[in-house]
């Protein structure tokens, strides 16, 4: 028998600090595989967010920087504008991208920055202990919504792909999910495509949103988390290609 599936070189062979069942690990793998398959590792620069994935550079074997909470798209802009020949990506959580970093992602898309954004939507602030994110579902109990999110006080969940789709500078927007192997395969294609576009010199921002489990923040088991994505999250965050 031949090996048909294993870690690719850009995904370093080291243990992660993520909780059991956390989606960040899956997302990292897709990213690393895409970079390896496209052969762009040596000209890729990555940006780690503030969030559980702040140590992404410990796992992804490319040049990387860690930046202030939410500012990754601005940092990416500074990098790509001065280094148009490099592949620049940011990896951001939903607190990072959809809360504190709203201005930066919108304006990077507005200007049509030629960058790739991997957006991990786990409907929660994982790193700080499970507070509401803009993406938290109605009724979802978090550290800061002890009685569940209520649209009367906290509004409806923020759908970033839909929001960014209004901007001509965003040329590729797709929402995928990490809740089962079939969807993960699709997610992989989307992630790879988002890199391909940049590598091909297409002008504009490419973002892939990944619905990702956070069993710790959701206070349920990893397996239940996968079901919750399918049964609850996907109702609010429909999968599909919104642009490009």
């Amino acid at each position: 028998m031949k090996s048909v599936f294993k870690r690719t070189p850009t995904y370093k062979n080291v243990p992660t600090h993520y909780c059991p069942g956390c989606g960040h690990g899956i997302a990292h793998r897709l990213l690393a595989e895409s970079i390896d398959e496209l052969g762009v590792r040596e000209k890729t620069i990555g940006i780690a967010p503030v969030g559980c994935s702040v140590l992404a550079y410990d796992y992804l074997d490319v040049d990387m920087v860690e930046v202030a909470h939410g500012r990754a798209p601005a940092v990416a802009t500074g990098m790509k504008r001065t280094n148009p020949d490099k592949i620049v990506f940011s990896y951001q959580g939903d607190g990072d991208l959809a809360a504190i970093g709203t201005g930066e992602i919108i304006h990077a898309a507005h200007r049509g920055e030629q960058i790739t954004v991997i957006f991990i939507n786990n409907a929660i602030f994982g790193m700080t202990g499970g507070q509401m994110a803009p993406t938290t579902l109605l009724g979802q109990v978090t550290a800061t919504t002890p009685d569940g999110r209520d649209e009367k006080f906290q509004g409806f969940p923020l759908t970033m792909c839909e929001l960014l789709s209004v901007l001509p500078g965003a040329i590729y927007l797709e929402r995928c999910s990490l809740h089962n192997p079939a969807e993960i395969r699709k997610a992989k294609k989307a992630v790879k495509h988002a890199f391909e576009l940049q590598a091909a010199g297409e002008k504009g921002l490419a973002m892939v949103e990944l619905l990702s489990p956070c069993p710790t923040g959701w206070r349920i088991s990893p397996a239940e988390s996968m079901k919750w994505i399918e049964n609850e999250m996907m109702k609010v965050f429909p999968l599909g290609r919104f642009k490009g």
Partner: protein
Amino acid sequence: MSGNNLYEEVIIAGFGGQGIILAGKLLAQAGMKASLEVTYMPSYGAEMRGGTANSMITISNKPVASPLVTNPNSAIVMNKASVEKFAARVKKNGLIVYNSSLINAAPAVDSSIKLLAMPADDLAVELGNIKIANMVILGAYLQTKNIISCDTAAESLSAVLAKRYHKTIPLNTAALQKGAEFAKKAEAENL
């Protein structure tokens, strides 16, 4: 620190999920209930997943100046990593209670230090839930040190457990007692 006053510094350590923080809080709460001066200081960092957790508790009969414990009188260690980190810091004539279910070898420390091997995980499983190993080992510590009674600790459970966990109070109480009994027996055997 000072002469014949009570000044008990304790570190409880293990990995996340072993109930280290809860055990620490309970010890501190029990101290207050016993009208002692107490500080309790957890290692914190929901910002970082994984790794080890610990609590530092100081119990005294006068106000506690520094809440930080560098060299404890007593250490309660729940996993190997914690033994490596804290055993050597325990003061002479101190006490180490360790979870022998996960820690095979007795910590190599100064001979003045009393060692108590507690198969805490195993005893907890016997009670039907591995998660209460923390209470088992805390019970053993309380019994051995005899500063605060196991009963006072049990009475403090309601103050440190979130409401939705109040149904587990009997189980936790049983665990404290099981640990205490084990320690009593061990002591008797050592005599």
